[in-house]
């Protein structure tokens, strides 16, 4: 494997990266695969998942990790680096059963680190990571990316009791763990190299903040799609919609708006068991005191009511509540991850002041709530894939 030096610079710093591949070639290979991906959706990907994966492989998106971590690419002849980065070593990635796209997405980003990967996928769920890697290996042209995916990526399915968990932890220089807080703690508690790095993606939840005046049919449709793709099963899915500064009537109006546009935004029926469960969730929400409405064809349950009501538990239940800014902040859960916004002036400094008062990790437009990147859950984890050498010429 031949190593190549690449250079990146910000106005204040120049960084040299020693990578076992040519960055431009790797970018071209991933984006070339993207073009191929429009031809078919391999099982068990859904059409939406495959489409998102394709969007993720956009060249500008793939350049972001380097850009956000080390700056623009630079011609080596003019570079005066003050730091050298190199892959830290084996990256172990723990994916629990119901994690879907995060597996392939993490793998794509990690492929730019040049480190070998060992991925533990869920023991009982559809394994999108293996499917994606198999697809990529079959469809990529000969080159370092295909070679790396074939030879330096190891994906295995096993459960949390399997001894390979300990082996992974013992060998990995970076442990990336998705899962419940307990699962994350359990992995990091395994014996591991003292100089290894822990990346934790534990239990988080998200919500949407909207202003009545910012809502349009298009944005309501976007909100529906962002919720409907995973319901409440996604850590970046809105578990509630907060109508900021609105009245209860405003919340009810949005509830009715959502119901009206739901069939237009979501064309496919939910699975039969979900439709049946939504009947139950609708009845339970009514018992709890919510004003609850089912969407057509039992696709979801939309509720309105006061902030104090117990949160609906259904996977496809979405409460809409009105609240002042202070009430919205006060009622945020401690593990809030993403606040998706649909407000008139998101660049107004008051939002910055508000977010500064919260433990939120992301404040993004509602359409970007699920967009995964190198900065996640409060830190630039991708940068942790490298170790850094300080240079003083």
């Amino acid at each position: 494997m031949s190593e190549k030096l690449h250079f990146f610079a910000t106005p204040y710093r120049c960084t040299a990266a020693v990578l076992p591949f040519d960055l431009e070639e790797r970018l071209q290979q991933w984006t070339g695969l993207r073009r191929k991906m429009v031809e078919q959706v391999p099982e068990p990907f859904t059409r939406d998942e495959w489409a998102y994966l394709g969007v993720f492989l956009d060249e500008a998106n793939l350049r972001k990790p380097f850009l956000e971590s080390f700056g623009e690419t630079r011609d080596g002849s003019q570079a005066r680096p003050t730091a050298l980065i190199r892959p830290r070593g084996l990256i172990g990635i723990w994916l629990p059963n119901n994690v879907s796209l995060l597996g392939p997405l993490t793998l794509i980003l990690a492929s730019f680190s040049g480190a070998p990967l060992w991925v533990k996928s869920g023991s009982s769920a559809a394994d999108l990571t293996t499917t994606f890697v198999d697809y990529a290996v079959r469809n990529l042209p000969a080159g370092t990316l295909a070679d790396d995916l074939r030879q330096r990526v190891r994906i295995e399915r096993f459960d949390r009791q399997d001894p390979r968990n300990s082996q992974m932890a013992a060998e990995a220089k970076v442990r990336v763990v998705f899962g419940s807080d307990a699962a994350v703690n359990a992995v990091h508690a395994l014996p591991h190299p003292p100089d290894s790095v822990a990346v934790s993606f534990g239990n988080h939840r998200s919500e949407a903040w909207v202003e009545k005046e910012a809502l349009t049919d298009d944005r309501v449709m976007t909100l529906i799609r962002v919720f409907a793709i995973y319901g409440r099963a996604g850590c970046t899915s809105p578990r509630r919609v907060v109508m900021l500064g609105g009245s209860n009537d405003d919340a009810r109006a949005l509830q009715e708006w959502l119901v009206r546009l739901w069939p237009k935004a979501v064309r496919e029926d939910v699975p039969m068991h979900m439709a049946a469960a939504n009947i139950m969730e609708l009845q339970l929400a009514l018992v709890q005191g919510w004003q609850a409405i089912g969407t057509p064809r039992n696709g979801a349950v939309l509720t309105t009511g006061s902030l104090e009501l117990p949160e609906p538990t259904g996977l496809m239940s979405l409460p809409v509540v009105s609240a002042s800014s202070d009430e919205a902040i006060a009622s945020l859960p401690a593990n809030i991850q993403t606040i998706g916004h649909c407000v008139r002036h998101p660049d107004d400094p008051r939002w910055l002041e508000m977010i500064a008062r919260t433990p939120a990790k992301r404040f993004v437009p509602i359409e970007g709530m699920h967009h995964f990147g190198p900065v996640w859950d409060g830190g630039n984890y991708w940068r942790q894939f490298f170790e850094e050498v300080s240079l003083q010429p």
Binding site: N98, D269, A277, Q283, L284, L315
Partner: protein
């Protein structure tokens, strides 16, 4: 009391009588159960079964429902015995409904197994009887046969079969009634190695096996009804029988026997609908979610329950000559993987 119970369970009925009684019982629960009223605030009497209010079977796992009304005295809580679900259903039993439910199950069981008294052997542990204030559904189902029992024997001890006890019963009696959950009957009896002395006694016994509880656990072992019946009958003497019925905790007292033509039958004091899971439209001849109704349940609104079982309402008359509705049971609603993040 209801006059629907005055005739034999599968005699013809005037459907209007059933609808009237259902309207009455729905109004009763709306008046006495505030939670029920929150779910169905605008309901008023109807002329169509499909417009009657119902509760989804899952709501009984989240909350203990009770209707307060004159003459209603709540006693114990019936709990489902399902081992495949994490949470048990809770049904508040009351004196008035229990009397009707006992009358209902007795009438149906008599129709199924006859009226002669004989020893009842239950494939369960007697420990289950000793839970205060609670009635596990499995033991409740077994005990619904006690009015036909000259004596009762529990055949499981620490979850293993007590063949000695069965042997001592068979040493004194030639006829025997045996009740067990379907999977337990398979595991503990049909698939077990029976000690030779008991085997010899069984070969001369006339045993009527009665089972319920569903086939889910046996699907993995690829045991179907034909194999199940054959395995049981191979262990016992001539004139022995196997009878299956479908029932659910949330319709306590109502038993839906499987007839020789392969259909489950609905007694005249109960009713059923099959609904499209996405639209809730009633379906005839096509598979959908089963909804059951009965006129026995006055202490809590479990008189009309939408289940997560799939079935098909079969039109026309049955070859077994029972009147009323009949259905095919197609299993539980299939579950598909839920994707998302790790955090649910």
């Amino acid at each position: 009391m209801t006059n629907l119970l005055d005739s034999s369970p599968f005699a013809p009925r005037a459907d209007a009588d059933f609808l009237n009684k259902m309207n009455e019982i729905c109004s009763w629960h709306l008046a006495g159960c505030p939670e029920y009223r929150r779910v169905w605030p605008d309901w008023s009497e109807t002329r169509r079964l499909e417009d009657l209010p119902f509760l989804h079977v899952g709501v009984f796992k989240r909350q203990l429902w009770k209707t307060a009304a004159p003459g209603i005295v709540h006693q114990r809580t019936l709990r489902s015995s399902s081992t495949t679900q994490a949470t048990a259903s809770m049904i508040a039993l009351d004196e008035r409904s229990s009397a009707l439910q006992a009358e209902s199950s007795a009438a149906i069981l008599k129709e199924l197994v006859g009226e002669s008294l004989r020893p009842l052997a239950i494939l369960d542990n007697s420990r289950a009887l000793r839970q205060r204030g609670e009635a596990p559904a499995r033991i409740t189902a077994a005990m619904s046969l006690r009015f036909l029992a000259s004596e009762i024997h529990f055949l499981l001890a620490d979850d293993s079969m007590n063949w000695d006890r069965l042997g001592s019963v068979l040493a004194q009696h030639r006829q025997l009634l045996v009740y067990g959950f379907t999977w337990m009957l398979w595991q503990a009896w049909a698939a077990a190695i029976i000690p030779e002395p008991v085997r010899r006694l069984l070969a001369n016994a006339e045993v009527h096996f009665v089972h319920s509880g569903g086939w889910k656990k046996l699907e993995a072992a690829r045991v179907d009804r034909k194999r199940f019946d054959a395995a049981l009958l191979a262990t016992v003497g001539p004139a022995s029988k196997v009878t299956e019925y479908y029932g659910l905790v949330e319709q306590v007292g109502v038993i839906f026997p499987l007839c020789e033509a392969g259909f489950y039958h609905v007694p005249r004091w109960a009713g059923m609908l099959v609904r499209d899971p996405w639209t809730l439209e009633p379906l005839v001849g096509r598979p959908g979610l089963l909804q059951f109704m009965n006129v026995l349940s006055w202490g809590a609104p479990y008189h009309s329950v939408l289940t997560e079982d799939l079935g098909r309402l079969v039109p026309g008359n049955c070859a077994c000559e029972r009147c009323g509705q009949r259905f095919e049971l197609l299993g539980r609603v299939p579950k598909v993987e839920i994707r998302g993040c790790a955090n649910v």
